[in-house]
Symmetry: D2
Subunit: 350 residues, 4 copies
């Protein structure tokens, strides 16, 4: 299938390009960026920051404006657009009958737009049928959640299914790549911790509530729970670390039940053999010093969710740490997996 | 007053040496270290890691064995000994009639030993009278708490006084200097987060309970509260950052009452003009990106407690972050302040 | 004396503000910045990045436009202006009869403008008399060199005086603060080395040639030497490290003569008791692991020059490493010292 | 072929294990380490620091003593032994008829031991025939050079072949992984530069001289050249950066000839299709900000040599920077490539 990348020169756009090299199903045929970049060769327009070689066939492609008329031959687009322009551009593509698999935040909380993590809420895909961008259903938008809501919701799903979530205390230690490029100034973060990330905490609850919500009759009933969240930035490159405490509605009698909840949970997309589906979704670490961003974020191509330090709490039923690669599992890689699921479900087609 | 340093070549010992340069009351006259160092000049024995020049009068001093007979002319000693040897050596000094102001953990939970933060529990000093190292009260031990318990208890004291603590959720982001030297391997922490610090979490509750406990009739009634704590290591040099959530027995109606609790709290040692007492104990930051270890840990010579991001929670009554210099306020500097208070109280004398 | 700061909100401007707190001779009475900041309180206009508290009297000052008419009551100004605007603004101040002590590069190579390091070329001050900004000599400009040329020229001066420089091979390892704020992106430098700094290498030779050049008859005869320089960026905060190799015209017979050249060199401003003059200009380290940016850059308030690893070479007569604080000795602190010298020489007066 | 790993629990040993997973020709069948580890399962004995999962079949293997009698069924061994024990143990294996492909320094300068980089001096292999560990030639030792000599000699080889090397000025910026584990203390290197690495500089010249020396009649005529080298440590994880300046015997008339020398150079092992041979040995970067350790060290599985910033000098004929992965190309990966070449040459066989 032929795919376009919107926002192709930015950090997320670059990650899409990297991840899609050699993809079994998808081939990049169009790159879109801002007016400033349009008309240039990609290698001139982009400051390539990935730690692999920029593929030659991408390097020499001419960047287009992000207008549907320029993307006539694609089957769908991935969007790594900045939120300042994503609402308008993604809408225009959908109205033009070009499906949009977006990493931007703008449509995430739209009640007709799936906020999708394939393993967690694949049934939410049906929301697409409610979208009215076109009369014939040819154009629509699917989004993936924020890079904290992704690991949080994945880490909670098996526990929620079994014990029911009541309340969550969360402190995040987030990698600098989450702020894009140039993003965090080195003078701000070298040898430092910054206890605040603008706009981050307010996304966590609504997105997690929607993700873990129940689909019924064409809409999502968002999950209600209490949340106290503190988002901090630390000098790691990739991999958001979460310190999570959870109280359940039906408390497990023992922490071993928590471990078993992960081990026994059935992945609803396990049989679909999606190319970006990790061999193991949950990696439970017994070594108390694990998981670590530098050592583990790239496991299984950055698509696994790492859990460590599962312990019984005094206030909460369980405390643990969770880690996922923020720009792969938590952004571009999640979007690719979304697209793969949408192919299997028949929404994306040539 | 003449003071000796036990464990003088280690990271804490070096900090004592640095902090005591030019001290108004205390002069270092003896340096003690292990058998391997004894007999050498200090500059040969120690791998000086402080970012100031090693003072010449210290550099040329001959290191002694940590035996009371070698410290005949000191009025008291500071101990930066490793916990593997502190129990025995500190006990020997106390029994020899030499007061020990210790940073080691070994005697912290001894019911007759004050675990002292001068601003928090100065009345606990009276415990000294229960000690039986000598018959005449000439030898005794006072300790300062762990580098997490210090900022935690200081940040909680005004809130506990006013609202009464019920439960605490805590995630720490601790600097590498907390592990001493060589301490944390660079391969473990560069661009990384390690979600576990051996032995750290189990110290936090008992020490905080004792610190915030009430002195009565010669003993401490430890404070009871629930605690869920996760201690992590991040690549900062100095300054432990704490993400703290607290539920009170008598909840404030508004978060502004929390701010006022800090502002109105009366520092019991404010009038004593102790040299190491910071001009401001509590620095409340309004900038949401503050406090930060690299920017703020050294304020007021590393003796202040920084609070930021005071917010109302959903589970907890208040969430905030706290920061203090771990090897100054949380270790050697706290011990010096302890000694200064003990001078004023008449326990230490020439 | 009353001083103004041009470019007061930038990284260099902030350093001027920090360094001048409590200065014996100079008091900041006016702050100038861009149109975007003018009219705001300084604390609103600036993103304060220094690791000390923003002084209250500065915080509440209203920022002015960088126009001479706004600086009527100052005796002179320090300029931390960006080079994109410094030529015009600094010229305007000089023409208005307000002396400018500048850190910007624009006038450095002007043949009538002293490129001044007080210990190295104090006689170059006489160039001021050639300046024609005003008819009465009331307005003029003095500059300090680039943050590499400063430590390079200071490290070379005693050797040049004694042996005569023939050629220099140089590799720098420069701290991120040298790029200002936001400056270097954390994604570019965390755990990394960047082997190029735009515009840096071309400044090193001409500035060093002028600095070490001889003043004679109203002009500077620049020093000729060969130079191969490579400027790199490393993840340190403050302190540029230089790996220097030098061949002389009259080679020392032994490396000990190099050490003696430093020890015997007479500092021409030693008797002036300038407040920013470091107690020791040259700190020669015998420990082979020294100097180090994190440990030593701040020594003597960041105004010393550190030399280490002095060794005889096979190609060059001597190899050594040099270190100086790039934003203090190599920028704002050097400018303050320049001003102090100009006071003593009678050029700056109330 | 069945291979054993000596020093299997150390940093280099771990790298051997990682690199040999799925190797086409070699299978690890025996792991040797110190007395302290012998008898334990590998996962208990080793503190696994690689950023991939420890393979299960290795994790459960029992670690042996490093004695030849314990390695009866291997065809040869890789040695990642510490130099304090490598001389004796490697000699014992060779005498027992077990070929040793070593990363240790002990035998590197032995006149009968090849110091081998397959692309540079494959003809040096013939030295093996001079070894007398056994009477029948069944046991012998081949070494790979130090992690600086490797990129230096590879970067110089095409230039030396064409222009003849006269003298070299070198400053290295070396990654922390070069010091093994725990290696460099985080307190020493976080936000810092250390201008000295014990024992590093003295290895560079003899090893490079031997590597680039001519094999003739059973011995190596070492290359003579002048060298001034400064080795520093910087806070990068993997990838040693070299700032190199070279003067030739027959100077190129233009720097473009230097570029052509790389482009036209013929790799003597290009036709052998060795599994660890990189697709491109030389990656010449035109982007002045490249190469960078974090972005490029892992290219081509860490086996390429990166060159950037090729410029004409004033003292030297050319200045450039070179980068290679220090623990892969500069250590374990180089050793694996050595073994592969020795298989093709018939020295290693089942």
């Amino acid at each position: 299938m032929k795919v376009g990348i919107l926002g192709a020169t930015g950090a997320v756009g670059q990650k899409f390009i990297r991840l899609l090299q050699g993809h079994l199903w998808f081939e990049i045929t169009a790159l879109g960026a801002s007016k400033r970049s349009a008309g240039k060769e990609y290698k001139q327009a982009a400051n390539w920051i990935e730690d692999v070689t920029l593929p030659e066939e991408i390097a020499s492609k001419t960047v287009k404006m992000c207008e549907p008329s320029e993307f006539g031959n694609v089957d769908f687009v991935f969007s790594g657009l900045d939120s300042s322009v994503a609402f308008e551009i993604e809408g225009a593509f959908a109205r033009a009958g070009i499906p949009v698999i977006s990493n931007a935040k703008n449509y995430r909380m739209d009640p007709t737009v799936p906020l999708l993590v394939p393993e967690i809420n694949p049934d939410h895909i049906s929301l697409i049928d409610k979208q009215t961008f076109t009369g014939d259903g040819s154009g629509w938008i699917v989004t993936n959640p924020n890079c904290v809501a992704v690991p949080l919701s994945i880490s909670l799903k098996p526990l929620h299914d079994q014990f029911g979530i009541d309340s969550i205390a969360l402190t995040t230690m987030q990698a600098v790549s989450g702020a894009g490029y140039p993003g965090v100034a080195s003078l701000d973060i070298l040898g430092n911790v910054v206890p605040y990330i603008s706009g981050e905490e307010p996304k966590i609850r609504p997105e997690t509530s929607k993700l873990l919500g129940a689909y019924s009759g064409g809409s999502i009933e968002e999950l209600e729970f209490k949340l106290d969240a503190t988002a901090t930035r630390v000098p790691s490159i990739n991999g958001h670390m979460l310190s999570v405490s959870v109280k359940f509605k039906n408390a497990p009698s023992d922490v071993s039940e928590v471990v078993e909840a992960y081990q026994n949970w059935e992945n609803p997309i396990a049989d679909l053999s999606l190319p970006f589906s990790p061999e193991q979704l949950y990696l439970l670490h017994e070594n108390e010093y694990y998981p670590q961003p530098r050592l583990h974020a790239d496991f299984n191509n950055g698509m696994s969710l790492h859990i460590g330090r599962i312990r019984k709490g005094e206030i909460f039923d369980v405390n643990f740490v969770a880690l996922a690669h923020n720009t792969i599992r938590g952004a571009a890689g999640g979007a690719v997996l979304n697209a793969e699921l949408l192919v299997k479900k028949g929404y994306l087609k040539q």
